[in-house]
């Protein structure tokens, strides 16, 4: 086994174990923390296959942003300390589905790539990634921005609880905070 393979095995074992612990953990914050480890290990796999930029994107987006938001919202709502409250009645079924997916994917990958020659890695420089992104993938890139904009508008639609007619007549739109406190007083 090459250094690369050994590294991969170590990463895969850590990531796999924490993925399992994530779903079996009964404490929701522990589950989220295991998720951090799993996602970080995915990033590490990207490093192993020389996709450096992608690896750090993974860390920045998933570990730095998504899980933080997840933890943040968990703690803001309910995050019991010391009590194990997560559970549901469908463990068996979930395990079955999980194993099924695993078996299916294992079969698919073995069937398609088993025995084929190892691929030589191409390390993409950041410059190449940038050119690809803004040349070949410029349109998907733009569409993503529209998607995010739509999501933002949606967040506003859902979050804005005030009366539609009232907000239109709202006297001072530059001081939303003051208006908020008025609303609570009412």
């Amino acid at each position: 086994m090459s250094v690369q393979e050994i590294t991969f095995v170590i990463i895969a074992v850590i990531g796999g174990v924490s993925a399992v612990r994530m779903v079996t953990s009964r404490n929701v914050v522990h589950a989220a923390l295991y998720l951090v480890v799993t996602l970080a290990m995915v990033g590490a796999v990207y490093l192993v296959v020389a996709a450096e930029f992608l690896a750090w994107v993974q860390v920045l987006i998933y570990v730095g942003a998504i899980v933080v938001l997840l933890l943040f919202s968990l703690m803001l709502t309910k995050a019991p300390i010391g009590r194990d409250t997560l559970d549901n009645q469908q463990r068996g079924l979930a395990a079955l589905v999980g194993m099924g997916v695993l078996a299916g994917l294992a079969f698919l990958i073995q069937d398609s790539f088993g025995g084929s020659k190892p691929i030589t890695l191409h390390q993409a420089t950041t410059e190449q990634v940038g050119v690809t992104l803004f040349r070949g993938f410029v349109w998907p890139f733009e569409v993503v921005s529209v998607l995010l904009l739509a999501a933002l508008v949606g967040a506003v639609v859902i979050a804005r609880k005030d009366d539609p007619a009232g907000s239109r007549r709202g006297p001072d739109r530059r001081a939303p905070l003051r208006r908020g406190s008025e609303a609570t007083r009412r």
């Binding site: 404490n27 914050v29 750090w56 570990v63 730095g64 933080v68 703690m75 300390i81 010391g82 905070l177």
Partner: protein, 312 residues
């Protein structure tokens, strides 16, 4: 090795600097006893004190999360030093995507603070952690956006490359707005005054760190001072030319000393602010990030882009 050594000693220096600078600004003398000359060994004494203290884990706390949290907060700041160039050839790693790596890594320490606050089983800790997370998320954006403008001007993400690109002039002259945004956002990322809502001692005791004692608490302090060094170093590289000296006498003094001097000056500035400004209120702090800094940073990027295209 040098980089590691720098990381281990520089925060101590900054800690001592904070003691002394704050004291002098408040017309005190600060530590004078330990070690003899102006209390230089005060930090060593502090370290010994921390080691001797009892390591308490609250009964209701989630013990392993509680124990792990200080490490998660501190490790990212150590990792940052791997890519910071202290001289033309004095760096541990010249990553192709240096600045991106730095920003990705700093994002991790938020998790550590959340872990600390939650695992302490203390409502003040939790409030502190939530404040910290909200603040760090809000100020990460201007931090990244301000760096983007620099990256656009330099045409590279590598920190060595950015330093090299400032051979003729420092980017603080072309990106003053970016520098301002970066420094403000760094202060907030470090939860330093005037952005120290998360550990506002008059309201929530000591935020996420309330329950920590001894060596674990020392870790948090070390992370804070390490963070000051790290962010000062990055700001130096991005805006002050890193190891590049000033034109005439620049090459007389090695780059390492230029870099250290700039880091020291910025660190001094950060400490200075603590003595100068009162704490912001939580909503002011959020509003400042979303309504002022981020639009400003976006405008900065736009102007940089337009100028870059025009100059080309």
């Amino acid at each position: 090795m040098i980089v590691l050594g720098f990381f281990l000693t520089a925060p101590m220096g900054i800690g001592y600097m904070e003691h002394k600078v704050l004291a002098h600004m408040q017309h005190r003398l600060g530590p004078m006893e330990a070690g003899g000359f102006h209390g230089w060994a005060q930090l060593v004494a502090d370290g010994v004190k921390f080691i001797q203290k009892e390591d308490i884990i609250p009964k209701a706390a989630d013990s392993w999360v509680f124990t792990l949290a200080p490490a998660v907060v501190m490790v990212p700041y150590i990792a940052i030093f791997a890519v910071i160039p202290f001289g033309r050839t004095l760096w541990a790693e010249n990553l192709d995507i240096g600045i991106f790596y730095v920003l990705a890594i700093t994002a991790i320490s938020v998790i550590g603070i959340l872990m600390a606050g939650w695992a302490s089983a203390n409502k003040f800790s939790l409030i502190g952690a939530l404040r910290a997370a909200a603040q760090l998320i809000a100020y990460e954006l201007p931090l990244i956006l301000a760096s983007v403008a620099v990256v656009m001007q330099a045409g590279t993400l590598s920190l060595v490359g950015i330093s090299e690109a400032q051979h003729h002039y420092w980017y603080i002259f072309t990106q003053p707005v970016g520098f301002f945004i970066f420094i403000v956002a760094s202060l907030a990322e470090l939860t330093r005054p005037p952005f120290d809502m998360p550990i506002a001692d008059s309201e929530i005791i000591f935020g996420a760190y309330t329950e920590y004692t001894g060596l674990k608490f020392a870790f948090f302090l070390l992370a804070e001072y390490g963070g000051i060094v790290a962010f000062s170093a990055i700001a130096s590289v991005l805006f002050l030319g890193g190891y590049q000296g000033i034109p005439v006498i620049g090459h007389l003094i090695p780059g390492f000393f230029w870099m250290s001097g700039k880091v020291g000056a910025l660190a001094f500035f950060i400490i200075w602010l603590r003595a100068t400004y009162p704490r912001l209120r939580e909503d002011q702090l959020q509003r400042f990030a979303w309504v002022a800094l981020i639009p400003l940073a976006l405008a900065d990027i736009m102007v940089t882009g337009v100028v870059k295209v025009l100059v080309k």
